[in-house]
Amino acid sequence: MEYAYYPGCSLDSTGIEFNLSTKAVAKAFGIQLVEIPDWNCCGASAAHSTSHWLGLSLPARNLAIAEAAGLDVAIPCAACYARSKRAEVEVCKSEETRAKIEEIIGRPYKGESKARALLDIFHRDLGVYTDKNALKKPLAGLKVVTYYGCLMVRPVDTGFDDPEDPISLDEIMTALGAEVVPWGFKTECCGASLTACRPEVGFPMTEKILDAAKKSGADCIVTACPMCMANLDMRQDQIGKAKNVHYDLPVYYFTELLGVALNMNNKELGIPRHFVPAEALVNKIGQAKTTEGGEA
């Protein structure tokens, strides 16, 4: 399996763990990720707010480069995926749009190279959950809530999963041996695009999600979006302090937990870089299992 790889800006910096774990896990599963040479920012979330054509053209350029190489594009970041998918869909929908975009980016793009969410690739193409043998360290006893965020599965016509009750991440987690705790916030927006400029709007949105996750009894949150991660992880302490709550909810990228299940080391996956300490919880997993095994 070979894909063009579009890490996006976040994965170069604030979302570095996602990048590290993706690369590590992909390698372990034999997925070849060829990083798009000289990729550009997809423009999320400012470009499409300012200009219709800029919003479509920035991601189209990346897709066009991948198309020339004959590859579909694997995109970890939910925002990048949403913008890229939009560009792809619009190009396929209308010849006129395609012509305009090709003119703007100065490259041919026929809509043949598809924007694919990394989550979807792991879920559908790899079918990772069917291969139990690959798991060296099943996540037994780990209670997770799956958080897809708002952008990953919307809108319906571009999505790969159910927009109201997506299951791809749930199925991966279940396959890894984790217990997926039901909750109502799988696709609620965390307000990441607003926490920066309008914190008084964005923070309560994040807070709701943290509250619900805590109430569900889960040990941690699993996500596939670096924006959600930044919000839920980085701001967790600040939000908690403001209302005197200690959430203690580590947030993981699903790729990190995949890596954990493959018994990769935390550092390789980037887990020590989280704001909310995240190593202890995953370290416990292995031990619990060994103890159980020892007793048996």
């Binding site: 927009p163 109201e164 009750d165 039901p182 909750w183 109502g184 916030f185 619900a212 109430k215």
Partner: protein, 668 residues
Amino acid sequence: MERVGVFVCHCGSNIGSVVDCAKVAEELRNYPNVVHSVDYKYMCSEPGQNLIKEAVKEHNLNRVVVCSCSPRMHENTFRACVAQAGLNPYMFEMANIREHCSWVHAGHNEEATAKAIDLAKMAVAKVCKNKELKKGHSPVTKRALVVGGGIAGIQAALDIANNGYQVDILERTPSIGGKMAQIDKTFPTIDCSACILTPRMVEASSHPNIKLITFAELEKVEGYVGNFDVTIRSKARSVDMSKCTGCGTCMTKCPGKADDEFNMNLQKRPAIYTPFPQAIPNKPVIDRESCLKFKSRKDGKDVCGICAKVCPAGAIDYEQEDEIFVEHYGAIVMATGYDQFDHSVYGEYGYGKYPDVISGLHFERLVNASGPTMGHIVRPSDHKEPKTVVMVKCVGSRDPEHGKSYCSRTCCMYSAKQATLIRDHCPDTKVYIFYMDVRTPGKGYDEFYNRTREEYGVEYIRGRVSKIYQDGEQLIVKGEDSLLGRPVEILADMVILADAMIPQNDAAKMAQIVGIGYDNDGWFTEAHAKLGPVETHTAGIFLAGACQGPKDIPDTVAQAGAAAVKVCGLLSKDQLETDPCTSEIDPALCAGCGHCVGVCPYKAISLETIEERKAGKTISRQVAKVNASLCQGCGACTVTCRSSAANLNHFTNAQILAEVDALCQTIL
């Protein structure tokens, strides 16, 4: 010699203000075979019709053309008029210069006039080729079939039976009663549904003119108005109806368990069962899917048999088989009812997974004194009384994207009714109703709605609910109070979704079996939205109740009565006139290839052997022959027939070609 009279109608100003009617009349006066041509204000009026009758006499007309409105409007009027004038009613044609001309070409008077002249010429050309046709006659079987044993079917059957005609009710479930039997109270009077329904059920079952055929399916309908042959499959009850006394011992001893459909799966029922205590006939059937004996037989074993052991009458018969028989009827009433929309398509409402998010019909069983909770309103999940109930209207209704585009008509009222019932049963419980519009057109309906708000304190919030999710033991309902213009969240213990009314899931198949139309949603189509609401396009088949579209009980009963009157009118005749516009096959031209037999949807064509002299010898050969009583006149055979042996009366090849030629003659 053809002597055609042309009459051009102004229809007041409807036609006259656009089409120059005098010019049309004048132009036609010079058209071949036209001997008389005039225009007049209102041709359909009595003086207008007299004009035709007098002209026929005066000018010795043998054919008449009226240029006026759509033949779908007045063809019969003028045919009758022409007949009164002493001509055969089929020596008449209409040119539609109103709906197809003046009304659609306003302001283009010249072009519209030219078009009217064309249309008139086409009609004249056709009428010259018209032949005198006589209606045929067919006998009437004085017996009706009502398909469906809900309130619509029961009412229609009673009305027919009380008029002295035999009628059978065909019901697919083990008992008549339908949805109304499941409902607790009826709006706006809060009558007990069962209390008003069961007497009617008893009356139907004991009426000398009514025969109940329950637990049976409609397999096939053949024949035509007055003479339907209906094939019925009586499903194996596994209980001998003639022996069973309905004591019910078997049901109490049966170890098999199945979901209780009548109670919306809120509880279990035995495998041998009657759907509800007042069922009619009150004799059980064995549900072979859940019966231990029948299940074990599939594995080659043969266990249980308790019901047979305990039955004091020896009525249990495991070897019974489906029985297929054919009955003859003169008329059929379709009263197959509706089904409830499945709200599990809504992910935002939990895909039907939250136990305390229930449908309106669920609630009816919950609140019913003979229901699974003995009428105590409790949540399905933990059987606690809900302190806050949220009701959501238009679930699946008015939602072209995820459900149906239409309004289900009954939900506004039943939601209001259910809200008052909750407030009556549980005075401490708060009830919120999310709505988009409150639609209460019905006697006493709006008053009821207002009482719901004012006297019962039910709070109405205008807005569609966007999301319901489980929050611990409770549910959070997110909506907008669009009158306040702000989003609201309600913490609820139970949510009742007013699911849309949808057609039975096999409605389309049923329509195809009986040969009637159905719309895109699957509702059976009436013959005319306004003037033929209980008739269908197939003569002799009528509609009653919700199978035709969402309806409440009063409307259903009214329509059932209307359908019954139509049936009685039909059955009161000894003979029926048949439309002579049927296909006819000229045996001299027919080569007997039989391709027409295959395309006829009414099986009206068959091959028969005729004797013929050929080359000095008598030979016998096969030719196709049309049974005029079965033929409905579609004309499929006429095109299939290469040698034009098949022709459709009143729409013959010669007539249509004459029209085509007449139209094209006016091209330069």
